[in-house]
Amino acid sequence: MSKNLSKNLTLDEQIQKRTMSKKKTYWKAGDTPLQRLFINIILIFASLLAIYPILRLLTVSLRPVDMLLTTDLRIIPEGATLNNFIALFTERDFLLWLWNSVVIAFGTVVLSLFLSTSAAYAFARWRFPGYRLGQIFVMTQQMLPAGMLLLPIYIIATRLRLTNTYTGIIIAYACGSIPFSMLLLKGYFESIPKELEEAAHVDGATTLQSFTKILLPLATPAISITGLFAFMNCWNEFMMARVMLQKNSLYTWPLGIRILQSQFNTTWGQYAAASILVAVPVMALFLWSSKYIVSGLTLGGVKD
């Protein structure tokens, strides 16, 4: 289309158009070749700094055991082997740690979504008495020092015999994630036009019906993203797990990986292998969802 259009223009008009478009992006395209070179050099340097430690993990994970202690900086080491990865599955409890993390994350996500979705809808739809109190609560809750509630939760869990169980830590994670999940979902529910629900009411649907039949299906993407956040938060969590899970057989991967990370003996290669296996899927998930994370963090924390 646009090609045909430009063919029909006279030469004069074409020149005019070009100079205009050039002017319009003058500031953007106005970098001289030298400036461009400079910008690229800076960005290449920054990118190298960003990925080098991750590449190093790959290097170390591929090193044979007798080559672990070396000052070699090559990316693919001499005599690269997958022995460290194999050892992880045959000699270490790596699979058990992953399994524990999966069980805990799954329980947390299901419970957390169940608790926060309906609450978020109530906050988005009604200005009930107590609404303001809820807002203030969510704001102050963000200002609790990390781990402030760890001690009371730990003591309560000890009394209820819930330390060293999946149940205890799942409940703690799930309830702790309610405020943030609720904020995210509330923002989404508010963005769905009211007319949709009103139309349903005209057709004789009750509020509950319009929630389950219209809003929930519409909100499925938002709910999955919220679930993904809850998942990533507890998948990567260290502090609470360190306190609540003291039995080796219940260790999640952040706790387990610390066993491997004793300094520069044979387990360093295994540590690196484990990190690669855990980090790559998490990084992929993160990159895929990063735009939602940003808008969620800024909007979720910001919207009155």
């Binding site: 319009k24 992006t25 003058y26 500031w27 953007k28 910008i39 920054a46 990118s47 700094l49 960003a50 991750i54 190093r56 170390v60 000052t71 900086l73 599955f89 409890d93 790596f94 699979l95 058990l96 399994w99 069980v103 329980g107 169940f114 608790l115 309906s118 609450a119 109530a122 609560f137 963000q142 200002m143 609790l144 020092p145 990390a146 781990g147 402030m148 509630l149 760890l150 001690l151 009371p152 309560i156 799942i170 309610i178 405020p179 998948w235 057989s249 952040p254 610390r258 360093w268 540590y271 990190s275 980090a279 998490v282 990084m283 990159l287 990063s290 940003v294 800024t298 910001v302 009155d304």
Partner: protein, 340 residues
Amino acid sequence: MSGLTPDAIMLGLGELVKLLPIAFALIVVIELFTWFLCAKIIRTKFTLAYVMLAPGIVGVMALIVFPFFYNMFLAFSNMSMTKFLTFSASLQIGLQNLIDVFTVPVLQRTNIGTLIIRTIIWTFVNVFFHVTLGMFLGILLNRPLKLKNVYKSLLILPWAVPEVITSLTWRNEFHYQYGFVNIILKSIGLEPIMWFQDPFWAMISCIFVNIWLGVPFMMVITLGGLQSIPQDYYDVAQIDGAGGWKQFVNITLPLLRPILTPATALGIIWTFNKFNVIYLMYQGGPIEGTHILITAMFSAIFENYRYGFGAMYSLVLFVMLLGISSIYYKIAGGFKEVSE
């Protein structure tokens, strides 16, 4: 032997199969009870709202509100590992705890004054570099570049790696002999540094790691903000003869402010609360030299088992954080500005 035996699998599944149905049954019971209370006894028109809220509120009450007040109670007790069940609580003990927080070392040798100063330096240096470097990279990335998307996804990676892995990996890379930091220092003719032994260098390395970790967030925020600035502003400035620096100061910076302000506020709170990097790098060592307020709290409670003292200490931290945030919001005009 891989630890994932059938028994272990069954244990996990078994607990899930028990927990989830019980939780759902409980949710239904809470909802029915709320419905009965609101519809039959109070007769409010917001019945459905409260019914939908009730399970969430119960969860939040049980795991956030109640522990918060229980923590306050603990602050007025002398609970510790040895007095776990036989502790006593009184106003006097609470006051003593409060005095102790400010006079007695929080751990073995570091008292709260040192920790406060160190935390302020830690937070300030980190957030400063997060914002300046993040903004710098964001502005560069906003220019026309062929490999823009490649750079962007590479630069965002430090944010994507789980913090536990970041901290432990960098800890290895600061090793005196085999870590790449010292290898590179040596290759450019500098003396290798004993990162683990000297508190000063240990702290520098922690700060470096946390800067590495936090720049991508600010970069992404800046990019988002830059894209919402209309190009016309720059065109007009161009016509008026304003140079690059003037454009930056008079257009870019003021228009980025509303988005950078809440991001910086978040950054301050996050950095103040950054437990993982400090704790996983050196556990606050050497000689307690890298502890900040938050990690010292964790160590006092879960490594020195001073529960009553730790609870009071955490309350003091809470008041500090509340103070910092409210001052910041007042200065920066608050969140409201952004949503408009």
